[in-house]
């Protein structure tokens, strides 16, 4: 069918040619003819993993800054518009998933069907172990390999009760599991959002000892006889991880006395907590070097963990000079040993060299020269701290825009964005980035970056909003204010009094010039913003929120409404000022009153002007100029004139 239709379309001569096939070839084969003599080389097959194709496809798309993150539903109603909403939406989705998991566990008999071949374990409800379960060693080893801590401990106690002998290998692996998690069930890996938003809270808990003394781990350890190096290693690492410093170190010494060969990672864990064991920098450095000496005596090869642990120890030194020299001594030695630094290493270097009160250090330049443009992968837990810290150094330590841009370019190279850490570090990163840019860039360039990042990637906190407003004020770029105000409304910043005052001040102080075409719409827009703000605050006062009107704020709103030719609303606002003058702290500025009087002259409304004058007199403000203006501006009738006289006396009439 297809062919016949095409045959009809072709001229006759062509049909013959294309049918007998001998004539002209339109393929590339003819053009490649000269290379005939070179043999065809079939490249070696490259082994691909099942997801390689997907990853290649995923590599072609980046983060779309115009759309919300893909974890949110793509619907205007469901797109989060503030930091709080981002958090709650993601978390509630996950909590729905948790509810479904719970239902699945509760009604496990309904979910025992097997749809998939072979069966997928994750879809089936998990095994439940109770006091009467039939268990043996294999189920224990299976649980340990799955990392099910609670069930493994339960099964272990069941086996013990039954008097089943457990092999020491199994005991060792259970000990390792218990030490790793400190006998507490970890947060399951599938709750991604909970992990992403968690770090904020955990930070505060850190620093104290959390190791459970005399708990299961130590019991297991005492049961293992004779003591193996592995059992020592597991217990020491567990204690060190949960900051039971003294006992971990004591165990290490005990192992050394018994001439038990430990491994590198165990030493690393002790070096990491040297700051808990010794108080002064000199003692810490002494202990650190001793430990490293011990390692070299035992012929242990240090790894990236050792380097980072040593640097962590150095970063706790109060003595800046010692810290710097020690760090500079350590780095080349590890380089000689062939240990490549990771992002975590650079993080420690940054916090060692770029201290708040220390001298300015440009080490970040060298670091960026080293790793700029490279695609990095995670090798150490601290690697995720680098980007937030680097941006912090760029902003607070060096105040360098170009460096910040370099760091940002590095973050957006390849898959480096995976190393941003969690929501907390991400927001610190962007907070510093935006704050630095709005201080150093021109307002136009800055607004471009702002448009790119806000609101889908980052939503500024009130503090950053203030910085942005400051930049707008310095540049007198009042044309951006309406845009920023609408963002502030969306981000729910409208109950911050300082921000409201800032916005008003910018709009009042930068009177838009009517000459330039860009400013044509501005007075009207500013009046709209002011009115919007007035309504927002009024609403907030009714709801007993913390924001309330001040005289200054109302005066500014009044001025803007007057400038935007919205006299009707301006009188309403002034009536509010006048009526509640005992409740509102402060008074509007005199210029605000003057502009209002001017406007009422233009609108031929003497009673408004007189109310303003009365207000000025009542509040001990400069009133004679106002009175003179009113007298000259209007042709007043008798009652108005009498009122004017009663307010300011007759003295001004003579002049």
């Amino acid at each position: 069918m297809y062919l016949s239709r095409h045959l009809r379309l072709l001229p006759k001569a062509n049909i013959a040619r294309s049918l007998n096939g001998g004539g002209v070839h339109y393929t590339t084969a003819s053009s490649a003819a000269p290379a005939e003599d070179s043999p065809i080389q079939i490249p070696n097959r490259i082994q691909r993993s099942p997801t390689d194709l997907l990853q290649a496809l995923a590599g072609t798309v980046g983060r779309d800054s115009t759309a919300p993150h893909y974890k949110y539903h793509d619907d205007p109603f469901l797109i989060p518009m503030s930091n709080a909403a981002k958090r709650t939406y993601a978390m509630s989705k996950e909590s729905g998933r948790k509810a479904a998991q719970w239902i699945k566990e509760e009604h496990r008999d309904l979910f025992l069907h097997h749809e998939a071949q072979p069966a997928i374990e994750k879809f089936a409800p998990s095994m439940v172990f109770t006091e009467d379960s039939q268990v043996d060693e294999t189920s224990l080893s299976q649980l340990i390999s799955q990392g099910e801590l609670k069930d493994a401990v339960l099964v272990y106690s069941l086996l013990e009760k039954k008097g089943v002998a457990i092999s020491s290998d199994l005991k060792q692996s259970l000990l390792e599991l218990v030490c790793f998690y400190n006998n507490e069930d970890p947060l399951p890996e599938e709750w991604i959002e909970e992990r992403w938003f968690l770090q904020n809270n955990r930070r505060r808990e850190r620093s104290g000892k959390t190791w459970k003394d005399g708990d299961l781990a130590e019991k297991l350890y005492s049961e293992i006889e004779p003591k193996t190096p592995e059992s020592y290693a597991a217990l020491i690492r567990g204690m060190a991880k949960y900051l039971q410093g003294e006992r971990a170190f004591a165990l290490l010494q005990e192992a050394a006395e018994k001439r038990i060969q430990l491994d590198t990672n165990t030493y690393n864990s002790i070096i990491q907590i040297v700051s808990l064991l010794k108080d002064t920098a000199e003692q810490r450095w002494q202990l650190c070097t001793d430990l490293l000496q011990e390692m070299s005596q035992q012929k242990l090869r240090p790894n990236i963990g050792t380097l980072n642990a040593v640097l962590e120890c150095i970063s706790t030194f109060g003595n800046f000079k010692l810290a710097r020299t020690a760090a500079l001594k350590v780095l080349p030695e590890f380089k000689q040993l062939g240990v490549n630094p990771s992002l975590g290493t650079y993080y420690y270097l940054l916090i060692i060299f770029c201290r708040e009160r220390g001298p300015v250090s440009h080490i970040i330049v060298d670091i960026l020269n080293d790793i700029g443009g490279k695609e990095l992968s995670i090798v150490h837990p601290k690697d995720t701290y680098f980007f937030a810290t680097a941006m912090d150094v760029c902003r607070n330590h060096l105040h360098d825009k170009s460096l910040a841009k370099k760091v940002d370019a590095l973050l957006h190279t390849g898959k480096n964005y995976d190393l941003i850490g969690d929501s907390f570090k991400e927001s610190i990163y962007y907070r510093n980035f935006l704050a630095l840019l709005c201080q150093t860039e021109t307002i136009e360039d800055f607004m471009q970056t702002y448009d790119q990042l806000v609101p889908n990637i980052y939503i500024p906190e009130p503090g950053i909003m203030e910085e942005i407003l400051r930049a707008v004020e310095i540049n007198g770029a009042v044309e951006h204010v309406p845009r920023i105000w609408s963002d502030m409304v969306v981000f729910d910043h409208t109950h911050r009094e300082s921000l409201l005052l800032y916005v008003l001040r910018i709009m009042v102080n930068n009177k838009p010039s009517t000459d330039s075409p860009a400013h044509q719409q501005l007075p009207e827009q500013c009046a709209k913003v002011a009115l919007d703000m007035y309504e927002k605050v009024e609403e907030a006062v009714k709801r007993l929120r913390k924001v309330s009107f001040t005289g200054q704020m109302l005066g500014d709103i009044l001025t803007l409404l007057v400038r935007g030719d919205n006299f009707e609303k301006a009188t309403e606002v002034f009536a509010h000022i006048d009526k509640n003058q005992h409740r509102i702290p402060g008074t509007p500025s005199e210029t605000a009153l003057q502009e209002f009087v001017e406007a009422s002259i233009q609108n031929k409304s003497p009673s408004q002007a007189l109310t303003a004058l009365q207000y000025a007199v009542d509040n001990n403000m400069e009133s004679s100029t106002l009175a003179r203006r009113i007298h000259n501006g209007f042709t007043l009738n008798e009652t108005h004139l009498a009122k004017l006289k009663s307010l300011v006396g007759e003295s001004f009439l003579e002049k």
């Binding site: 539903h73 109603f77 509630s92 989705k93 909590s95 998933r97 948790k98 479904a100 749809e115």
Partner: protein, 165 residues
């Protein structure tokens, strides 16, 4: 029917005649009712666009509600797929109680199931996200494959009404 023959000869005659009548002379029964909506006396039954078009417009003015390949020749699980789709529809309309304001479209591609529907904005987005997570997770452990919800929201019930009959 022997007892009829014995009892009433007249009835027996009628029975004989009845059994003689062939199919093409029997009462007309070609009225099709399924997928069509009856006009109400007050003409106030709201119909969505999909409801307003009777089934013979499928593929012309409206589309299918289930998209899968299970009914092609030699395909797998045709009956299971139909039952599962029914289950999904019941589950979603029940879980999103009084919120679903359109047909539920179920699309299957490879091992994933995508479920699309229009939802009324009657509950807060937060609760919607909870229900999204819940529906996806529970259905995926029921069907043992990834399930994605692709919802759109409408501000008002009336937004989806195409006409009243």
């Amino acid at each position: 029917m022997n007892f009829l023959n014995k009892l009433v000869p007249q009835v027996a005659l009628e029975v004989q005649q009845l059994s003689k009548s062939a199919i093409h002379t029997s009462a007309v029964c070609c009225r099709v009712q399924s997928g069509r909506y009856r006009i109400t006396t007050k003409r106030d039954r709201p119909l969505t666009y999909e409801m307003a078009n009777p089934p013979h417009f499928i593929g012309h003015r409206k589309s299918w509600n289930s998209w899968n390949t299970s009914t092609l020749k030699d395909s797998l699980r045709p009956s299971q797929t139909a039952i599962e789709d029914l289950f999904i529809r019941k589950f979603v309309t029940g879980t999103w109680h009084a919120l679903v304001s359109s047909e539920i479209i179920i699309k299957r591609q490879h091992n994933t199931i995508r479920i699309a529907a229009l939802i009324r904005q009657a509950i807060s987005p937060r609760k919607m996200y909870f229900l999204i997570g819940y529906t996806e997770e529970l259905l995926s452990s029921w069907m043992q494959c990834p399930v994605t919800l692709e919802l759109q929201t409408v501000a008002d019930k009336k937004d989806v009404v195409f006409k009243y009959i």
